[in-house]
Amino acid sequence: MSVTVKYFASLREHVGQAEQQCQVPECGCSASEVWAQLNASLELPSNILVAVNQDYASLDTRINDGDEIAFFPPVTGG
């Protein structure tokens, strides 16, 4: 299945890119498994936040074909 993965702020700099279009072999894998597939050499930061299709989600959230997954550090707006 095909997914879009986005990274923001310090995590974007850490990963080295803002967005990836990628193929994930299995429907129903979790957000953390997508991270592991794309960033095998990078440990998942403990304070990371996840959104799926612009809604807050968890690392265990199941990913479906066409989803947009975003990984980012704690927010600091306002």
Partner: protein, 152 residues
């Protein structure tokens, strides 16, 4: 009830006046409470020359609208205007405007405070401070204990 993400400088009190004149019905609300957040030139011991605000725009709009929806369910809110900057910002620039209109002041104060608190904790924006060649990402927001204690 607009929510606006703005890349370029805005003058909050001018925008507020324009909105009052163009979109608000005179006499409809008895109270208006406004919060304006601006960039300081010093943060703790770090002199700030400029700031970059990064955002996830589609999600930021949705999250701010969710916060405003929650506020309008909890308090009697006649209208609101929310603006948030992103991109390159200089000290003195307005970063965020939260304006709430209500029948009575207590409703407007509470709703305004709730909106800015949850906007800061939910909307996906990230601040990076700059001083000369140095840059640093902020790691977290200051907490508003009064709201946290009231609303969890």
């Amino acid at each position: 009830m607009p929510v606006v993400l703005q890349e370029f400088e805005f003058l909050p009190y001018q925008r507020l006046q324009e909105y009052e004149e163009q979109c608000r019905k005179p006499g409809e609300s008895g109270a208006a409470v406004t919060f304006v957040g601006s960039l300081r030139d010093m943060h703790e011991d770090f002199p700030v020359d400029a700031m970059t605000i990064e955002c996830y725009p589609e999600m930021a709009l949705q999250e701010i609208e969710k916060v405003c929806d929650a506020a309008t369910k909890q308090w009697q809110v006649d209208d609101y205007l929310i603006m948030h900057r992103y991109g390159k910002v200089e000290p003195g620039d307005a970063l965020v405007l939260v304006a709430v209109w209500s029948t009575h002041r207590s409703q407007a104060f509470d709703a305004c405070r709730y909106i800015i608190h949850y906007l800061k904790h939910k909307a996906p924006f990230w601040k990076q401070e700059h001083h000369g060649e140095q840059s640093r990402w902020l790691q977290g927001n200051t907490d508003d204990k009064a709201v946290s204690e009231c609303h969890g």
